[in-house]
Structures are given as structure tokens and as C-alpha cells.
């Protein structure tokens, strides 16, 4: 039997996502100026600003020297020709 919930948070999914389809960003960061900029993970966000915020809060395992996000759709694959880039969680 389904459990009755007292109240349910109402979320406008379309607004949250900025569209009907989720939009993904890949997250890159470097620990200090001697380290490589590495892929650390991936977030879903409706726009660039929220992608920045989500990346910073989720991938907080280090005090990163530098962090950036790249929209997944901007990544052009070389070895995976013809496919969209694969998500490579860090």
C-alpha cells in the first residue's frame, strides 16, 4: 500500500532543467598549480551559473586551485567518433 505523504515538494522540472531534456556539464579541476587539470566528475544543471554552483558543492573533496565546467554538448569526440562523449565520472 502506498504511503500517504503529508506534503510533497512541488518542483517545476522544466524550469529546474531549463528545458524538457536534462543538460549535462563535465567538471574539470586542478589541485594546485603543479597538477594537471583533470576530469573530476559531471553535473546536471539548467544553465552555466547553476552548473558552476553544483560542481563546486558536489566535488568539494579538495580545495581546488582551479575548477571549470564544460557543457557536454561542446565536447567533440576523437576516439569515440560518431557518438556523444561518454560520461567519465571522476
Amino acid at each position: 500500500m502506498a504511503t500517504k505523504l503529508k506534503s510533497k515538494k512541488k518542483i517545476d522540472q522544466k524550469r529546474e532543467r531549463g528545458g524538457a531534456e536534462p543538460k549535462y556539464y563535465e567538471v574539470f579541476a586542478r589541485k594546485d598549480s603543479h597538477s594537471d587539470l583533470s576530469h573530476v566528475g559531471s553535473v546536471e544543471a539548467p544553465n552555466d551559473e547553476l552548473a558552476q554552483v553544483r560542481a563546486w558543492y558536489i566535488y568539494d573533496q579538495h580545495k581546488w586551485r582551479e575548477m571549470c565546467v564544460v557543457p557536454l554538448e561542446s565536447i567533440i569526440t576523437v576516439t569515440e567518433e560518431g557518438k556523444s562523449a561518454k560520461i567519465k565520472m571522476g
Binding site: L5, I11, K88, M89
Partner: protein, 317 residues
């Protein structure tokens, strides 16, 4: 049923993938998977994500009752870590067609896959630190095994951060468990009482004994590397020496003859949920135990309902 399993075992694609991952091959893409591989992988990540989230209602009561601001921050920070872990798992699950919003907010709480160890809301800060010391240690052993062995590389990689953060929870737990053991008579009594409750819960975290287990896909597809008993042994080899060094009594010891840690009781045993007391002399059957696990404690549904309906608000502090 038996014939169905036999058929799949004889499916050359399934067999080929099992042999491939047995050599250490890691998959990077969903397209490389067989249906059966995908099912066992997704099931594993699904449960892992649920287990991360249920820590929130479990830990939150202790945020209110913990003695100092630092303690409150420590618990809140651990909760934030756990939700961050869930976020990464959701991100992976989306590649398999999961919708995070409906998965988190629209699922019936009874459908959540939780383990008994994480279902009892902490009554005080001592319970939180004991739970970090013994419970997060158990969780850590399973997630380290996944990081080291999981044949789906994106999941294995995502667990680096998870395990990095879990070590903080475990060392925080050990440090404060030791502190409260030495602080006063009363706090020592409370530590022992909490360990008495958590120890069997944590040994059960690793599931059925190997000789009772019927589903072995996690191992044959190398989603995990170690069996239930191997991981349980690893956990015992950490927590028993720790407890002995502090002076905490635990129902397990190292058996010289067998060369391994053994429990001083025969699981599964009866738990009085109301009193939070185990009856070490009252054995139940594995069928009864599975029923208890499946149903969940009385806290399970209200806790998850609370997460879903976001009733934290001003009550949080």
C-alpha cells in the same frame, strides 16, 4: 526458475562478458553491457544511492541534541558528504534511464532499498559517533571494494571521492568514541550500550553468509570483488582490535586455530526493535531475517517520507 538461470549461464554473450571482466577488463560504455550485467550493476548503484540518502533522517536528530556547535557541524558535514555521494550516483543512474527527480521525490518510501543498520534515528551524539566508527567503517569496506574491483569504470572512479570522505567519518567516529569512553562513567555506559546495539547491525550490513547466498551475479560480473563473508571478515579485523584497544566489549574475537575473526553468537538473532536490544540466545531463521530486512524498521517509512516532503524547515536546528 532454475532453467531460466541455466539458460542465461549458457548464453555465450553473458559467458564472454564474465570471462572478459574476470581478466580485469573494465567497461566504459553502456553499449558494451549485456542485459544481465546491466541489471546487476544498476541494482547495485540504485541500492548504494538509497543508502546514502537515508543517512540524512538517521543522523539529523543528533544535530539537535549534540552538545557543541562543532559536533553539530561535524554531523551536518557528514550528511552533506553523503548527499554529495548520492548526487554522483544519480548522475550515473541517469545514463541508465533513471530520472533523479522522480527517483528521489516521487517514489513510495516503502519501495526504497535500505539496510537495517541505517534505519534507526540517532538518539544522541554518542550514537552518531559510534555509528560512524562501526557503521561507516562497514560502508567504507563495501565502497572501497567497489572502487578497487568494479568492472564498470565510471562507477569505480566516482567512488574515489566517496571513499576519501568516508575515511573522515570513520576517523571522526573512532576519535570521539574513544573520547566518550574515557570521559565519564555515564558516557562510557552509553558507548557500550550503543556498540551492543550496532555491532550485530553492522555484521548484518554485509548480508547473508556466503554459503546461504543464491545470487552471485555481483561477483561473476565483477561488480564487486569480495564476497559477503570476506568483507565481513575485513570489517571484524578492523573493529575488533580497535574495540579491544579502547576497552569496549564486542561479541567477536580472533580465533587462533581458524586464523580468523569469529562471532561469539550465531546469526541471525532476534532484535527487540522497541528496546533496541538483541537476544543473543534467541536464534531466528534466515527466512525470518530476510522478512525483517525487507520490511524495514518502523522508522524507515516516516524517515524517507520526511526527506521527500522536506519537513526539515525550522525544526532542523
Amino acid at each position: 526458475m532454475a532453467t531460466a538461470i541455466k539458460d542465461i549461464q549458457e548464453d555465450p554473450r553473458e559467458r564472454a562478458l564474465q570471462e572478459k571482466v574476470a581478466t580485469g577488463y573494465q567497461l566504459e560504455d553502456v553499449e558494451e553491457m549485456t542485459e544481465r550485467y546491466k541489471n546487476v550493476l544498476v541494482n547495485t548503484i540504485h541500492i548504494a544511492a538509497d543508502l546514502e540518502v537515508v543517512t540524512l533522517p538517521t543522523y539529523s536528530p543528533a544535530i539537535k541534541t549534540s552538545p557543541t556547535l562543532e559536533d553539530k557541524i561535524a554531523i551536518a558535514a557528514a550528511c552533506q558528504d553523503e548527499l554529495g555521494h548520492a548526487q554522483m550516483m544519480y548522475r550515473i543512474l541517469e545514463d541508465f534511464g533513471y530520472d533523479t527527480h522522480s527517483f528521489l521525490f516521487e517514489r513510495d518510501p516503502e519501495e526504497w532499498r535500505t539496510f537495517q543498520m541505517l534505519e534507526f534515528p540517532h538518539e544522541d551524539y554518542i550514537e552518531s559517533v559510534v555509528s560512524m566508527c562501526y557503521g561507516d567503517r562497514a560502508g567504507y569496506i563495501t565502497t572501497v571494494d567497489l572502487e578497487e574491483n568494479c568492472s564498470y569504470a565510471p562507477f569505480a572512479r566516482s567512488l574515489r571521492k566517496v571513499n576519501y570522505e568516508e575515511t573522515f567519518h570513520v576517523s571522526h567516529g573512532e576519535r570521539w568514541t574513544r573520547f566518550f569512553w574515557n570521559q565519564s562513567e555515564e558516557s562510557r555506559r552509553r558507548v557500550q550500550e550503543t556498540v551492543d546495539f550496532y555491532f550485530p547491525l553492522c555484521t548484518a550490513w554485509f548480508g547473508m553468509p556466503d554459503n546461504r547466498k543464491t545470487r552471485t551475479d555481483q561477483l561473476s560480473y565483477r561488480i564487486r570483488g569480495a564476497s559477503n563473508d570476506e568483507m565481513r571478515q575485513k570489517w571484524l579485523s578492523r573493529v575488533v582490535p580497535f574495540s579491544e584497544s579502547v576497552g569496549i566489549k564486542v561479541p567477536a574475537h580472533y580465533d587462533e586455530e581458524q586464523g580468523k575473526y569469529v562471532l561469539d553468537y550465531e546469526p541471525p538473532i532476534y532484535l527487540d526493535e522497541e528496546k533496541r536490544e538483541w537476544d543473543y540466545d534467541r536464534q531466528i531463521t534466515w527466512e525470518e531475517q530476510l522478512k525483517v530486512w525487507k520490511k524495514g524498521s518502523k522508522h524507515k517509512v516516516p524517515s524517507i517520507a520526511r526527506v521527500i516532503s522536506e519537513e526539515w524547515g525550522k525544526d532542523l536546528w
